[in-house]
Amino acid sequence: MIEVIAHIFIIAGIIFDLLGCIGMVRLPDVYNRLQASTKCVTLGTCSILFGVFVRYGFSAMGMSALVCIVFLLLTAPVAAHALVRAAHRSGFELDEITVCDDYKDDSDLRT
Protein backbone atom coordinates (compact mmCIF):
# COMPACT_ATOMS: atom_id res chain seq x y z
CA MET A 1 0.00 0.00 0.00
CA ILE A 2 2.74 2.45 0.99
CA GLU A 3 4.62 1.56 -2.18
CA VAL A 4 1.53 2.40 -4.27
CA ILE A 5 1.09 5.82 -2.61
CA ALA A 6 4.79 6.55 -3.05
CA HIS A 7 4.63 5.64 -6.71
CA ILE A 8 1.58 7.84 -7.26
CA PHE A 9 3.52 10.82 -5.85
CA ILE A 10 6.58 10.02 -7.96
CA ILE A 11 4.54 9.61 -11.15
CA ALA A 12 2.66 12.87 -10.53
CA GLY A 13 6.01 14.58 -10.01
CA ILE A 14 7.37 13.23 -13.26
CA ILE A 15 4.25 14.41 -15.12
CA PHE A 16 4.63 17.93 -13.71
CA ASP A 17 8.32 17.97 -14.64
CA LEU A 18 7.34 16.93 -18.16
CA LEU A 19 4.76 19.74 -18.34
CA GLY A 20 7.42 22.20 -17.26
CA CYS A 21 9.67 21.00 -20.09
CA ILE A 22 6.83 21.29 -22.62
CA GLY A 23 6.29 24.82 -21.39
CA MET A 24 9.97 25.60 -21.88
CA VAL A 25 9.66 24.59 -25.55
CA ARG A 26 6.29 26.12 -26.36
CA LEU A 27 6.24 29.49 -24.60
CA PRO A 28 7.71 32.45 -26.48
CA ASP A 29 10.40 34.30 -24.45
CA VAL A 30 12.78 33.95 -21.49
CA TYR A 31 10.30 35.34 -18.98
CA ASN A 32 7.40 33.06 -19.86
CA ARG A 33 9.69 30.07 -20.08
CA LEU A 34 11.00 30.75 -16.59
CA GLN A 35 7.42 30.90 -15.34
CA ALA A 36 6.74 27.39 -16.62
CA SER A 37 10.05 25.93 -15.50
CA THR A 38 10.05 27.46 -12.00
CA LYS A 39 6.54 26.47 -10.98
CA CYS A 40 6.19 23.06 -12.56
CA VAL A 41 9.70 21.84 -11.86
CA THR A 42 9.53 22.98 -8.23
CA LEU A 43 6.30 21.13 -7.51
CA GLY A 44 7.31 18.15 -9.66
CA THR A 45 10.61 17.68 -7.89
CA CYS A 46 9.03 18.23 -4.47
CA SER A 47 6.46 15.59 -5.32
CA ILE A 48 9.16 13.09 -6.32
CA LEU A 49 11.05 13.80 -3.08
CA PHE A 50 7.86 13.39 -1.06
CA GLY A 51 7.30 10.05 -2.77
CA VAL A 52 10.79 9.01 -1.69
CA PHE A 53 9.94 10.09 1.86
CA VAL A 54 6.72 8.04 1.84
CA ARG A 55 8.59 5.01 0.55
CA TYR A 56 11.52 5.13 2.98
CA GLY A 57 9.81 6.72 5.98
CA PHE A 58 11.77 8.18 8.89
CA SER A 59 15.19 6.96 7.83
CA ALA A 60 18.30 8.82 6.70
CA MET A 61 17.10 8.87 3.09
CA GLY A 62 13.53 9.89 3.88
CA MET A 63 14.55 12.73 6.16
CA SER A 64 17.07 14.01 3.60
CA ALA A 65 14.26 14.11 1.05
CA LEU A 66 12.07 16.15 3.42
CA VAL A 67 14.87 18.61 4.15
CA CYS A 68 15.52 18.89 0.41
CA ILE A 69 11.87 19.92 -0.13
CA VAL A 70 12.29 22.80 2.32
CA PHE A 71 15.50 23.98 0.68
CA LEU A 72 14.06 23.64 -2.82
CA LEU A 73 11.02 25.74 -1.92
CA LEU A 74 13.32 28.38 -0.44
CA THR A 75 15.92 28.53 -3.22
CA ALA A 76 14.03 27.91 -6.51
CA PRO A 77 12.19 31.29 -6.49
CA VAL A 78 15.43 33.10 -5.66
CA ALA A 79 17.19 31.48 -8.61
CA ALA A 80 14.31 32.36 -10.94
CA HIS A 81 14.32 35.93 -9.63
CA ALA A 82 18.06 36.28 -10.23
CA LEU A 83 17.79 34.85 -13.75
CA VAL A 84 14.85 37.00 -14.81
CA ARG A 85 16.40 40.18 -13.38
CA ALA A 86 19.72 39.48 -15.11
CA ALA A 87 17.89 38.81 -18.38
CA HIS A 88 16.01 42.10 -18.14
CA ARG A 89 19.11 44.09 -17.24
CA SER A 90 21.17 42.64 -20.08
CA GLY A 91 18.46 43.78 -22.49
CA PHE A 92 16.61 40.65 -23.53
CA GLU A 93 13.51 41.77 -25.43
CA LEU A 94 10.10 40.70 -24.23
CA ASP A 95 8.09 38.90 -26.88
CA GLU A 96 5.91 41.07 -29.16
CA ILE A 97 2.63 39.82 -27.64
CA THR A 98 3.66 41.47 -24.34
CA VAL A 99 1.11 44.10 -23.33
CA CYS A 100 3.09 46.26 -20.88
CA ASP A 101 6.53 46.63 -19.31
CA ASP A 102 6.38 48.91 -16.29
CA TYR A 103 9.85 47.84 -15.17
CA LYS A 104 11.48 49.21 -18.33
CA ASP A 105 9.44 52.42 -18.13
CA ASP A 106 10.48 53.01 -14.51
CA SER A 107 14.15 52.26 -15.05
CA ASP A 108 14.12 54.66 -18.03
CA LEU A 109 12.81 57.34 -15.70
CA ARG A 110 15.55 56.68 -13.17
CA THR A 111 18.50 56.97 -15.55
Binding site: F16, L19, G20, I22, G23, R26, L27, P28, D29, Y31, N32, L34, Q35, A36, T38, K39, C40, T42, L43, F58, S59, A60, M63, S64, L66, V67, L73, L74, A76, P77, V78, A80, H81, V84, R85, H88, L94, D95, I97, T98, V99, C100, D101, D102, Y103, K104, D106
Partner: protein
Amino acid sequence: MFFSGGRVLSLISTYWGFDPGMRSRILTFIIVMVFWFLITFSIDLQHAIVGLLLAFIVAMSGVGDMFAGKAGKWLSARRYWFFVLYVLIFLKEVAKANIDVAYRVLHPELPIRPGIVKVKTDIKSETGLTFLANSITLTPGTLSVDVDAENGIIYVHWIYVKDRNIEEASRLIAGRFEKVIKEVFG
Protein backbone atom coordinates in the same frame (compact mmCIF):
# COMPACT_ATOMS: atom_id res chain seq x y z
CA MET B 1 30.95 23.62 41.80
CA PHE B 2 32.15 26.14 39.26
CA PHE B 3 30.19 24.82 36.28
CA SER B 4 26.96 23.89 37.97
CA GLY B 5 23.79 23.74 35.90
CA GLY B 6 22.40 26.92 37.39
CA ARG B 7 25.52 28.85 36.53
CA VAL B 8 25.47 27.74 32.89
CA LEU B 9 21.80 28.65 32.65
CA SER B 10 22.37 32.10 34.08
CA LEU B 11 25.29 32.57 31.67
CA ILE B 12 23.03 31.71 28.72
CA SER B 13 20.26 34.00 29.94
CA THR B 14 22.73 36.84 30.40
CA TYR B 15 23.83 36.58 26.79
CA TRP B 16 20.24 36.10 25.66
CA GLY B 17 19.18 39.29 27.34
CA PHE B 18 21.95 41.69 26.49
CA ASP B 19 23.98 40.63 23.46
CA PRO B 20 21.98 40.33 20.22
CA GLY B 21 25.04 39.12 18.30
CA MET B 22 25.58 36.20 20.65
CA ARG B 23 21.85 35.53 20.68
CA SER B 24 21.65 35.14 16.92
CA ARG B 25 24.76 32.93 17.06
CA ILE B 26 23.21 30.61 19.62
CA LEU B 27 20.07 30.43 17.47
CA THR B 28 22.08 29.69 14.31
CA PHE B 29 23.94 26.97 16.19
CA ILE B 30 20.70 25.31 17.28
CA ILE B 31 19.14 25.51 13.80
CA VAL B 32 22.26 24.13 12.09
CA MET B 33 22.43 21.28 14.62
CA VAL B 34 18.78 20.38 14.02
CA PHE B 35 19.30 20.29 10.26
CA TRP B 36 22.48 18.26 10.68
CA PHE B 37 20.73 15.61 12.75
CA LEU B 38 17.79 15.53 10.32
CA ILE B 39 20.08 14.94 7.35
CA THR B 40 22.41 12.36 8.91
CA PHE B 41 19.61 10.85 11.04
CA SER B 42 21.93 8.97 13.36
CA ILE B 43 22.91 9.84 16.91
CA ASP B 44 26.26 8.07 17.25
CA LEU B 45 29.30 9.83 18.63
CA GLN B 46 31.18 10.42 15.36
CA HIS B 47 28.29 12.23 13.68
CA ALA B 48 27.61 14.24 16.82
CA ILE B 49 31.23 15.43 17.10
CA VAL B 50 31.48 16.43 13.42
CA GLY B 51 28.08 18.13 13.62
CA LEU B 52 29.00 20.08 16.74
CA LEU B 53 32.24 21.25 15.13
CA LEU B 54 30.58 22.30 11.87
CA ALA B 55 27.69 24.01 13.63
CA PHE B 56 30.14 25.89 15.84
CA ILE B 57 32.13 27.10 12.81
CA VAL B 58 28.99 28.15 10.94
CA ALA B 59 27.53 29.92 13.97
CA MET B 60 30.74 31.79 14.74
CA SER B 61 31.22 32.86 11.09
CA GLY B 62 28.25 35.20 11.57
CA VAL B 63 26.17 33.99 8.62
CA GLY B 64 23.13 33.79 10.87
CA ASP B 65 23.13 37.47 11.75
CA MET B 66 21.22 38.15 8.55
CA PHE B 67 18.09 36.22 9.41
CA ALA B 68 18.23 35.71 13.16
CA GLY B 69 18.78 39.36 14.01
CA LYS B 70 15.57 39.95 15.92
CA ALA B 71 15.76 36.81 18.00
CA GLY B 72 13.45 38.17 20.69
CA LYS B 73 10.48 37.85 18.34
CA TRP B 74 11.13 34.12 18.02
CA LEU B 75 9.43 33.59 21.34
CA SER B 76 6.00 34.90 20.35
CA ALA B 77 3.54 32.02 19.85
CA ARG B 78 1.15 34.12 17.74
CA ARG B 79 3.71 34.32 14.94
CA TYR B 80 4.00 30.54 14.76
CA TRP B 81 0.24 30.16 14.29
CA PHE B 82 0.32 32.69 11.49
CA PHE B 83 3.31 30.88 9.99
CA VAL B 84 1.29 27.64 9.90
CA LEU B 85 -1.56 29.57 8.24
CA TYR B 86 0.94 31.02 5.75
CA VAL B 87 2.27 27.56 4.87
CA LEU B 88 -1.27 26.27 4.27
CA ILE B 89 -2.19 29.22 2.00
CA PHE B 90 1.15 28.83 0.25
CA LEU B 91 0.66 25.12 -0.49
CA LYS B 92 -2.84 25.77 -1.85
CA GLU B 93 -1.53 28.52 -4.14
CA VAL B 94 1.38 26.35 -5.35
CA ALA B 95 -1.04 23.59 -6.35
CA LYS B 96 -3.26 26.12 -8.17
CA ALA B 97 -0.20 27.60 -9.90
CA ASN B 98 0.78 24.26 -11.35
CA ILE B 99 -2.68 23.42 -12.67
CA ASP B 100 -2.86 26.92 -14.17
CA VAL B 101 0.50 26.63 -15.94
CA ALA B 102 -0.32 23.09 -17.09
CA TYR B 103 -3.55 24.40 -18.65
CA ARG B 104 -1.78 27.26 -20.47
CA VAL B 105 1.04 25.04 -21.72
CA LEU B 106 -1.21 22.28 -23.06
CA HIS B 107 -3.85 24.59 -24.62
CA PRO B 108 -3.36 24.57 -28.42
CA GLU B 109 -3.62 28.37 -28.73
CA LEU B 110 -1.38 29.27 -25.75
CA PRO B 111 -3.73 31.68 -23.90
CA ILE B 112 -1.09 34.11 -22.60
CA ARG B 113 -1.00 37.91 -22.39
CA PRO B 114 2.31 38.58 -20.64
CA GLY B 115 3.55 41.84 -19.20
CA ILE B 116 5.45 43.35 -16.29
CA VAL B 117 3.28 45.20 -13.76
CA LYS B 118 3.96 47.01 -10.51
CA VAL B 119 2.71 45.72 -7.16
CA LYS B 120 2.60 47.95 -4.11
CA THR B 121 3.15 46.59 -0.61
CA ASP B 122 3.27 47.96 2.94
CA ILE B 123 5.76 45.38 4.20
CA LYS B 124 9.03 47.01 5.19
CA SER B 125 11.24 44.31 6.75
CA GLU B 126 13.73 42.53 4.49
CA THR B 127 12.64 39.05 5.52
CA GLY B 128 9.02 39.94 4.88
CA LEU B 129 9.79 41.31 1.40
CA THR B 130 11.85 38.22 0.57
CA PHE B 131 9.04 35.90 1.58
CA LEU B 132 6.46 37.96 -0.30
CA ALA B 133 8.58 37.96 -3.48
CA ASN B 134 9.20 34.22 -3.17
CA SER B 135 5.50 33.54 -2.64
CA ILE B 136 4.62 35.65 -5.68
CA THR B 137 7.08 33.66 -7.78
CA LEU B 138 5.51 30.34 -6.81
CA THR B 139 1.87 31.38 -7.34
CA PRO B 140 -0.24 31.26 -10.52
CA GLY B 141 1.28 33.06 -13.48
CA THR B 142 3.40 35.56 -11.58
CA LEU B 143 7.18 35.91 -11.27
CA SER B 144 8.86 38.69 -9.30
CA VAL B 145 11.49 40.52 -11.36
CA ASP B 146 12.82 43.19 -9.02
CA VAL B 147 12.15 44.63 -5.59
CA ASP B 148 12.29 48.34 -4.85
CA ALA B 149 12.52 48.17 -1.06
CA GLU B 150 12.52 51.94 -0.49
CA ASN B 151 9.17 52.59 -2.16
CA GLY B 152 7.72 49.18 -1.34
CA ILE B 153 7.22 48.21 -4.98
CA ILE B 154 7.68 44.75 -6.48
CA TYR B 155 7.90 44.41 -10.26
CA VAL B 156 6.06 41.28 -11.30
CA HIS B 157 6.04 39.47 -14.63
CA TRP B 158 2.46 38.29 -15.12
CA ILE B 159 1.67 35.63 -17.67
CA TYR B 160 -1.91 36.87 -18.16
CA VAL B 161 -2.29 40.57 -17.34
CA LYS B 162 -5.82 41.05 -16.02
CA ASP B 163 -5.36 44.65 -14.91
CA ARG B 164 -2.47 47.08 -15.34
CA ASN B 165 -3.66 49.43 -12.61
CA ILE B 166 -1.29 49.28 -9.62
CA GLU B 167 -4.02 49.04 -6.95
CA GLU B 168 -5.96 46.33 -8.71
CA ALA B 169 -2.83 44.35 -9.57
CA SER B 170 -1.65 44.56 -5.94
CA ARG B 171 -4.96 43.22 -4.74
CA LEU B 172 -4.96 40.35 -7.23
CA ILE B 173 -1.31 39.31 -6.80
CA ALA B 174 -0.16 40.20 -3.30
CA GLY B 175 -3.49 40.40 -1.47
CA ARG B 176 -3.56 36.69 -0.73
CA PHE B 177 -0.32 36.79 1.27
CA GLU B 178 0.24 40.31 2.46
CA LYS B 179 -1.73 40.24 5.71
CA VAL B 180 -0.36 36.88 6.85
CA ILE B 181 3.25 37.74 6.00
CA LYS B 182 2.87 41.05 7.81
CA GLU B 183 1.81 39.19 10.95
CA VAL B 184 4.72 36.75 10.74
CA PHE B 185 7.64 38.85 9.53
CA GLY B 186 6.35 42.42 9.47
